[in-house]
Homo-oligomer: 365 residues x 2
Amino acid sequence: MYKDMMFAKSVLEIDLSRVLLNYQKISSLVGNCNIAAVVKAEAYGLGAAKIIETLYKEGCRDFCFAYLGEVDAVQKELKDARIYLFNGLNSYEFSHAVRHNIIPMLNTLEALQQWGEYAKQIGKKLPAVIHLETGMGRLGLQESEIEKAASSQLLAYLDICYICSHLACADYRDHLMNQQQLKLIHKYAALFPNTKISMANSAGIFLGKEYHLDQVRCGCAIYGVNPIPANASQVIQVATLNAYVLQLKTLERDQSISYGARYHAKKGAQIATLACGYADGYHRLLTQNAFGFYAGYRVPIVGTVTMDTVMADVSEVPAQLLEKMEYIELLGDNITVDELAERANTIGYEILTSLGSRFKKIYIE
Amino acid sequence: MYKDMMFAKSVLEIDLSRVLLNYQKISSLVGNCNIAAVVKAEAYGLGAAKIIETLYKEGCRDFCFAYLGEVDAVQKELKDARIYLFNGLNSYEFSHAVRHNIIPMLNTLEALQQWGEYAKQIGKKLPAVIHLETGMGRLGLQESEIEKAASSQLLAYLDICYICSHLACADYRDHLMNQQQLKLIHKYAALFPNTKISMANSAGIFLGKEYHLDQVRCGCAIYGVNPIPANASQVIQVATLNAYVLQLKTLERDQSISYGARYHAKKGAQIATLACGYADGYHRLLTQNAFGFYAGYRVPIVGTVTMDTVMADVSEVPAQLLEKMEYIELLGDNITVDELAERANTIGYEILTSLGSRFKKIYIE
């Protein structure tokens, strides 16, 4: 089924044509508004290099990272793109950042002062985004700092690409905080005349035009995670995990399966052992609470998820289909990232960022 | 505090002297019995190369992996060591495996036949471990296959280093299955005269001498995870995660913290934003259910764990100590891997294998 499988057993397929479809969907929603693709954490586990290459070809020129190390690893794909750094810079990173045209988020007044002083010192206007706290409580300048920033002499040395903030509750359409945060960013924006505003994450995009402003920052929706769980997903699944069947056995006696003897199987049951475990990002909390998919059959995951393997009971699959069985789908069109997340008591984002390095990654163009 | 921190912010310290202490503790328990160090999944996330180098110097010569790809990455450190492959080999991997002296687990009768035929064909006696199913229900030959294997002509072409099996419930000292599995392996061993037996994992080692047999396979205990949670740990913590403080702020108003507005903080509260999130393996389930440690103070994790960051309420730490705060410990002597696991509704193994690639890894010799 797959070529060149030496060294790995299970396969993570990433459908780049679907990444494009999701990106185009976002484009159609936001019109002329700039889209910054969030590619931190290896593009949410799917591989930043290929994702950037794909989106760049489609015209995307704005990419967001958390750390300099992430940027460095994909410098080649970024070409002339604008590179935003969410977690900011330490002063010992400044010269490197300038050489690579990094646009840091200035998350504190101190960060703004340091970056401004550096620009002054090297005699070069440096780009930046000023991050304003409006309710997320994570990073960004609070009100008194915003006022100081707005009147800072150092702004003369900076090219403020955007002021930005981050929505805390955009995944709940009717949450009061959405409007409150929007009001606040407009209030603060008045202090920064002629400066563009960036506010919405993926969920925020679906809150409507008033949230789009000058730039949206889009991550999960591009990667097929539904940003508003209460609504039907408007994006399509991107990742498919096909777990290799290491062993298929017909039990010779009644017995339990896996650690802790949690699952009791009967003699004659067909048990498949799959090359995928929690070290590969298949959460241990999926123990006895997930299923795989093969040839039209849903097959339950049985027994404790182990570090490198998980077992599926495939007794209901007809024998002639079992003979040909090489892989079982553990994530894909038949069990989406959102469904798997719900079963693992988390969100789709964490399912994606957990996906491990031991899979063979295959990109479908 | 740390040198050379360009590109990363938070630090994962791995204390190799403690790895050694844990290994020596195991050694003292098992006497002359061979110890195979389980270094699959990047030595449970701590970095296989350094762990192997450390244990090799101490005299360890047996190392266990899940996949060929894992072995290839650390070939240099392995030198003349014996290399076991838990998940077995596919036939297209045979020639590579022979060149690299891999000892595959023969998990099925078919695997035994293929490896035996290959040995016959190339005219070279090939090493192997025959894996017998005794109750784990994961991999290994069942009874009828074991009988066939024991009488196979192909055994003449194989050097059977061990027969092995795997304990399913060794973390529960008094679980009936422990004795049942031990009985079964001895029953099957009679079919393979003069063949060594390997049975115990880390937990099995603590079940007593009768489980040690000829080889123990030790993973989690070396890495500081307590293999028998009901008992006081007999091993010491190896990993320390020091999360970098991206921002420390005094709230200018009452407000909620992070996604979903789950935590309500008062004006004047001191909130630290740390460079560590679920994409780094700090499970989202730790939301509002963990704490960090700084200068003798336990500081609660507040609000939802986000992809790249988490917030701690450090209001109780005196101002003069906050001034000097650079890092907050999220995992270490003050909050062990076992405690963090319990809070995340999992086991210490998964905490370790989740630890992400964006930390600066520092090894303490």
